[in-house]
Symmetry: none
DNA sequence: AATGAATGAGCATTCATTCAT
DNA sequence: CATGAATGAATGCTCATTCAT
């Protein structure tokens, strides 16, 4: 009873305190979310523990309650990002079966996402992010289109190198200079030309509307 | 006899100065040459001063007689590599005027060089090397081919992203896994398809013999 | 013969070279002279070998041909300065017998010298210079004046502390801020009051003209 | 009762441990306190980080948790010393209004303090300590006495130079040689003579008993 | 859980000194 | 003698990690 009264009289706890408590409850997610921006800005090697704890607003020791090294944090961030973006992308493409359309749509979604999410884009470019889920999807759709006779390339690996390499360079360009709105679809079109589509097929693909894609909020998404 | 007299009276620049300068130049080149392998192995950020002085076999202080930071060394290595590879490449292509053939030849030489020089290849991949000389050549040949109606792409920048991105991914692949001898020309072919050449043109280009390319010796080339 | 011819063909050696050779002939003096300015600027501890060889325009090794440590150089500079200033001062006072007038004259000469020689003044202030010759003169004149009943102080040591301490602080002030021309004699007057002279005696002493004092050229004086 | 028992059983942490922990909580003060002795022994330039951490018994990193350079530490020590000595001195003179008596008392207290605190004295002498608080007090009392017609000197600055310079030389003497007990008052007397007091006034001032002065403990005072 | 002071190994940098020319 | 490249011990500084509260 006494305790109850005490807690009844205690609403001295102000708003920030409550927010803080809620945040603490998801400390791990919070560290990952804020770490993404740190990696995006400085690359995968440069940042030090101090950068992460300052970004997250936690104490040094807290960091070690969740991660034993920055590499482990990098892995967690990478996994979070891939899970998040890929699940959104796959959801958006769930009903598409044609591998050519899947590939075209995937490339376009990815590039639009990169254009709209500077932090995520920075992370991918600077960390040389290569997610197994993404790679698997790519290989499947490239194989599918090749077997269907739509593509022309000597091997899936080389086609993948062209696709991934071009996208990474394009993302790098988007990070460092202003590009027109048409940029992302122009890049997608050139990649499709690279894997062997002709002009007419490319135009038709790029004319298709893009499914809606949900932007993740990195501060809380982890 | 005449020579003897001349050498007796001439030492305006005295002997010590000349010897000193020669030795100095050799040490600097030596550090740069051995540093290339270090950067190739560990990337541009990871290596510490100790790695470089151990590789070069010089004392700590000697390093600082020539470079004030690892960044300065990285810049020197980058410049040396670009100067060296580009001057060899340009020499090999001196007599070629057709921009399409120049581009095709340049891509193929570069990839063959990467295949045969693991150290240089590692450095380029890990350091995100982008030399202004290379970029300038690329832009010129891409523009030339576009204006000649041979290529099809929306802008030189995007074509350059496809070309450079694909090459970097391919180099990365060559570093990490075994590839068949045909790999380099297959990559070159896909890039040419990407910038809009048709199959016949590509086959004709790849059938051309490559000019001889002189391999630089990094230990002394700087 | 050969020698003759050689020297006959040699007038290619230009003016700077000849000056250089002459300078080299007195390298030790030259190092000491230029080191004075270095010590004056940075104090006795801060400067490094590099500061001295850069100031003197000689090679590292040359320094070690003459001095084995910066302490040795500091000692040499100190001795040079004391020899130079004291011999000038003593020469200027050679014909004065009265210890009170000697002291008054010595103080005034010293302060005027400090005012006109920023480098020497800086050295004395920053190096805590205490030359045995100076100290001996001081003690003699203070004793003499005390025994003659002209001064009033409890011990020669304390009087010396007042005199030296005041002069050093005054020199420090001259180095860091602008002072009127009357400053040096006002300081001298206050010191004389401190050792027990009355106003009339002080006024009479300060009215005396100062003997001429020869300014040393530190670049060559050593 | 339960509480009482709990607290009774808890001091498994023994006394020395608790004392150590309390000391850690005041690490900064501890470093400053022990640094004073280091500066006193070696002067302001010579000591290296190692000297300070050895003196304080802390790790290298701990030093940098509090100070980013030895200069910053020197500043902190200087401020601590001035605050401490000046606040003690001012407290001891709080009830004195006459500027002449204030000056006389301040000089005598300072010299006695220097005589009894070898570490503090060494620091002041070697660091060329000049605290703004001290300077302000001095200027005020010198002005006051001059305006009251008790002193005779051409400017407050010159009188200050005589006073401070003499005290520093006297402190230097006390550090390097044995002096009689009468030394400090003899120095004070000569300074008072220097600023223009006559023998009778000086004798009267020096006959006054000195207020009690509390000696700071440098290991904890910061 | 969360905290952050303390730690010390690791890496960066300086500078007195040597020595071949 | 003069030179200045080379040396490496001394020193400065950072930052991942621990641990008592």
């Amino acid at each position: 009873m006494t305790n109850k009264r005490a807690s009844a009289t205690r609403p001295r706890i102000d708003h920030r305190t409550r927010v803080g408590q809620r945040r603490r409850a998801r400390t791990r997610s919070h560290i990952i979310g804020t770490a993404l921006a740190v990696f995006a800005e400085k690359g995968p090697d440069a940042p030090v523990i101090d950068d992460f704890i300052r970004a997250a607003g936690v104490a040094r020791g807290t960091f070690y309650n969740y991660f034993t090294s920055t590499q482990e944090l990098l892995d967690a961030v990478t996994k979070t990002l891939e899970d998040s973006v890929m699940s959104s992308t796959l959801a958006a493409m769930a009903h598409i079966d044609d591998p050519v359309l899947r590939l075209s749509t995937g490339i376009r979604i990815w590039l639009r996402w990169a254009q709209s999410d500077a932090i995520g884009c920075g992370f991918v470019v600077r960390s040389r992010f290569r997610g197994p889920l993404v790679e698997k999807q790519l290989a499947a759709d490239l194989s599918g289109g090749l077997e269907a006779g739509k593509f022309r390339f000597p091997s899936v690996e080389i086609a993948r190198d062209l696709l991934v390499g071009t996208i990474l360079e394009a993302m790098h360009r988007m990070m460092t200079s202003e590009v027109p709105d048409s940029f992302t679809d122009e890049v997608a079109g050139l990649i499709l030309q690279g894997v062997g589509l002709d002009k007419r097929a490319i135009d038709r693909l790029l004319a298709r509307p893009l499914p809606r894609f949900e932007q993740p909020d990195w501060e809380t998404a982890a």
